[in-house]
Symmetry: C2
Subunit: 118 residues, 2 copies
DNA sequence: CTTTCATCTCAATGTATCTTGAGACATTAA
DNA sequence: TTAATGTCTCAAGATACATTGAGATGAAAG
């Protein structure tokens, strides 16, 4: 993830509806959700939803595939972890006090406390 | 860090000049830098720089204090780590595959490989 | 083949954001 | 006090973004 990609991802996430869509899709898992179901969850009109999904897909944060008459959207986990890694790499340069608290907060989530790879 | 704060922080970082300012200030350390020095590094006019610094300060990502005739800006580490934690907490809900790679990337940075707190 | 359903595309509108330039304000030095 | 320095504020203009509504497209059912 370079600066340009990070800017695209940050810009895509810096909007209430889109941030919520991403959160929804992450919890929805790899199968994702049909556009209609996302729209229902968001309370958004079809064109508004399409606008934001297109934006998220252009930023690489979600992907889509047709499934019958529906189109299913799912989160691109690599893009999210890439963004987080970018922010950490960026921020950590000689300043562990930035990311140490973030790492500590990881313990509170469902992640395995991954043995520190070398 | 709640959703509103995260949106403010993401919006502030989703702009080339501001993202670079934050990177610069993080590496500059707690003493920060005078506005003039930041502007010189960015190649930005004073009013343009002021606009972005004000935006970053409103988002809580940087703070300022007067130092003689200069005003020194420094990164707010808590805000950055809070945002990273928000994104991780968000993404990890039942989906460790999102943040595990990000954690792995931590090993490559200057951070201590923090014993997993409980 | 026609209808229905799910979603997308387009144009229009309003709002927000970024940049510029001129000038104001605060601080220090002469 | 006057001048110089560093930074901010304000108004104006250009660009980008978000939302709406109407209609087009693609897939499936009758």
């Amino acid at each position: 993830m370079d600066e340009t990609q990070a800017l695209d991802a940050l810009g895509a996430l810096a909007q209430e509806t889109r941030l919520r869509i991403v959160r929804l899709l992450v919890t929805a898992g790899p199968d994702g959700m049909a556009a209609g179901a996302i729209g229902e969850a968001m309370g958004a009109t079809s064109s508004r939803l399409s606008f934001h999904l297109t934006h998220l897909e252009a930023a690489g944060l979600v992907q889509s595939r047709r499934d019958g008459r529906s189109i299913r959207y799912s989160a691109v986990y690599d893009a999210l972890s890439g963004l987080i890694a970018f922010l950490m790499r960026d921020c950590c340069q000689g300043h562990p006090e930035v990311c140490t608290p973030a790492v500590a907060s990881l313990a509170a989530c469902a992640c395995p406390s991954s043995e520190p790879a070398e």
